[in-house]
């Protein structure tokens, strides 16, 4: 019977592309069709699996047992073998192997790049979130990073870039909009690299935005869709063109620059030049001139002297960002730059942070002044701590303080006439 069972197992394995070997030490899949009629054969199974499990410390190996098994042995084998199944389930053996993340040799002969399955992420995306707000939501569309910027450990903590199925994303957005959500942010460590890991089997980021835009056009709801955090390397004109077409795609672009100096960008391994960044901004200014521009900047990175920092200041003044998240460089364990000397002093970093923040305030104020007297749509989402008046955000995410506290406006998009402009915010009256 074991011989007959083994012949069937061999058939299944050959169908999966495995080749039989006579040398156990060369095998990556080892199995036993057990016989329980006497103890001695079962003792041999125990000895064998003990040896195989020692090999597992040094090499890649999957083990399985089937055949005739007593309940007591089955319980013990569960702790020692990778797979245990009755012969009646032999047909499911290929699926069991695949669930272990093994792509069978038959699949290996294709030219497709093989990426490890990231089941945890897919499972996480399937968990229904308990939304904390009734009008603002965050929808993950992508996880992981393949960029290896030298200051960042995310590729090592989050793993490879994986895109969530577009059907799931669109379903979640439709659900949120129907529930009355007004602000939806698409999330990913490289949100605009969406789809690139799927080798053409998924839509691209610009196509995803277009699908969302089309839905927005046909729905009767007013809502704004944002995205963060994109990488300039994968940003292209097509994304901006799509944003320009659809009202629901918010005219607010967050585009991390990190540094305005070519040498520092190279050392950061950002994989884009200032010319590329400049072209993206030029596209934004041409196609969606009303858009606000946000960025991320690191000051005090290894190799940033005063001339390099001044290039960042110049770039800031050139692009006139409305907001910047400015961080002082801090070596991260796991990131490549952690192995370099952190030569910029803490005082210099703080000074550069202060100087760039001053530039931010000037640029932001100049822009805010252009909005005086205009009536803007504002999503009311909070309360000012000092005055107790209601606050909100414009489509471009500029903070607006209105002239009163009105709880009934929370979560609503209302018209506000702008009456004054400060460095980083506006004030106005609800119309």
């Amino acid at each position: 019977m074991n011989i007959a069972d083994s012949e069937r197992v061999s058939s299944v394995l050959e169908g999966m592309g495995y080749e039989r070997t006579d040398n156990e030490e060369d095998a990556t899949l080892l199995g036993i069709l057990a016989c329980s009629v006497r103890q001695k054969p079962i003792d041999k199974v125990y000895n064998k699996i003990a040896q195989w499990n020692r090999w597992k410390n040094k090499r890649n190996l999957i083990t399985f047992v089937s055949g005739c098994l007593l309940p007591a042995d089955k319980e013990k084998f569960l702790k020692t073998f990778d797979l245990i199944f009755p012969m009646s389930e032999l047909g499911q053996f290929p699926d069991m192997i695949r669930e272990y993340g093994v792509v069978t040799p038959a699949a290996l002969k294709t030219r497709q790049p093989i990426m490890p399955k990231n089941e945890h992420i897919a499972a996480m995306w399937h968990i229904k979130p308990k939304y904390q707000s009734t009008y603002e939501a965050f929808v993950p569309i992508q996880n992981g990073c393949d960029k290896f910027c030298t200051f960042c450990a995310v590729p090592y903590t989050r793993g490879r870039e994986v895109s969530r199925p577009s059907s799931e994303i669109l379903d979640e957005i439709r659900h949120l909009v129907n529930q009355g959500y007004k602000s939806i942010t698409l999330l990913g460590q490289n949100v605009n690299s969406y789809g690139l890991d799927k080798n053409g089997e998924e839509i691209t980021f610009s196509q995803l935005l277009r699908e969302i835009g089309e839905y927005g056009k046909s729905s009767e709801h007013e809502f704004w869709v944002y995205f963060t955090s994109p990488h300039p390397q994968d940003m292209n004109r097509e994304v901006i063109e799509v944003i320009a077409v659809y009202d629901c795609l918010a005219k607010q672009i967050h585009l991390p620059m990190q540094s305005g100096d070519e040498r520092v960008l190279i050392k950061m391994n950002r994989r884009h030049s200032m010319d590329k960044y400049r072209r993206i901004v030029a596209d934004i200014r041409e196609l969606i001139p009303q858009a606000t521009l946000f960025t991320d900047i690191i000051v005090g990175f290894t190799g940033e002297g005063e001339p390099e920092f001044m290039n960042t200041v110049s770039a800031y003044e050139e692009f006139k960002f409305n907001m910047a998240y400015i961080a002082m460089y801090s070596p991260r364990p796991g990131a490549a730059s952690f192995r370099w000397e952190d030569e910029v002093t803490s005082d210099d970093k703080k000074e550069r942070l202060r100087r760039l923040s001053d530039v931010l305030k000037i640029c932001s104020h100049e822009y805010n002044e252009t909005l005086l007297g205009k009536t803007l749509r504002v999503l009311i989402n909070g309360t000012d701590r000092k005055t107790g008046f209601s606050t909100g955000l414009t489509e471009g995410k500029i903070i607006v303080r209105i002239d009163r506290h009105d709880e009934s406006l929370m979560g609503k998009i209302v018209d506000v006439k702008i009456t004054s402009a400060a460095n980083l915010s506006l004030s106005g009256e609800v119309v």
């Binding site: 797979l83 245990i84 272990y100 093989i114």
Partner: protein, 225 residues
């Protein structure tokens, strides 16, 4: 009923080292089986030692159709990771993730373009991969090293296509840094430049090429860190 241990997973990113080839006292190549791996010449991978908790990125040294996956590695003095790599033997297990990156060659361009590959040290790795993959490509390599012994696998390149710049001995075709040599060169205006190596060399070479009138779009960079 099938009973499976849910926490057991076989990792398809594990590879067994087939051969370690020592090119100099400090530099070696690791040969792994290629069978599972598909990549584009110029891309890099993330390499770890099975059981370890660190990894590093390396350009793929072998061509897309070569029998093995090969990586070129230089041991870092007092480093943590590369001394451990250097102690690996045939049969050791490493972990490979990838491939990553967009540095490399468009097949259509490879057939018709003129290329200058500028590399410092082990930065020559992606260019060997490209030359192996596109044997008919019109290329020139300018390789900057400290010592002439660091002209890794020089015999694989035609003499008139490879210029060795040595900064610390006189065994090269040019004695001095590659940026010094680059300043003396004249290139066809349609040339594409690919640069790979340390960030200072890349930045200096970029400035030299821009001064020669080449557009930034003609120049592609891969930084080693």
């Amino acid at each position: 009923m099938s009973l499976m241990k849910p926490d057991m997973q076989m990792d398809v990113s594990f590879y067994k080292v087939e051969e370690i080839r020592h090119l100099t006292d400090e530099t070696f190549s690791l040969k792994l089986p290629r069978a599972r791996f598909a990549f584009k010449a110029g891309q890099h991978i993330s390499l770890g030692i099975v059981g370890g908790n660190q990894s590093r990125e390396y350009s793929i040294y072998s061509g897309e159709n070569d029998e093995n996956l090969e990586l070129l590695i230089k041991e870092v003095d007092n480093g943590y990771f590369t001394p451990r790599l250097r102690k690996l033997k045939a049969g050791s297990m490493v972990e490979v993730h990838g491939p990553f990156g967009k540095f490399g060659m468009e097949p259509e361009l490879a057939a018709n373009g003129k290329f200058v590959f500028i590399a410092s040290g082990t930065g020559i790795a992606p260019f060997r991969s490209i030359v192996h993959t596109y044997p008919g490509i019109d290329y020139r390599i300018i390789h900057g090293v400290r010592y002439s012994k660091e002209a890794y696998d020089r015999e694989e390149y035609a003499n008139d296509r490879y210029t060795l710049c040595t900064s610390r001995d006189k065994g090269g075709d040019y004695n001095g840094r590659l940026t010094g040599y680059l300043k003396t060169c004249k290139f066809d205006p349609e040339t594409h430049f690919d640069l790979c190596g340390n960030s200072n060399m890349i930045f200096d070479a970029l400035e030299i090429l821009k001064d020669k009138g080449f557009e930034r779009d003609q120049i592609h960079c891969e930084v080693y860190f």
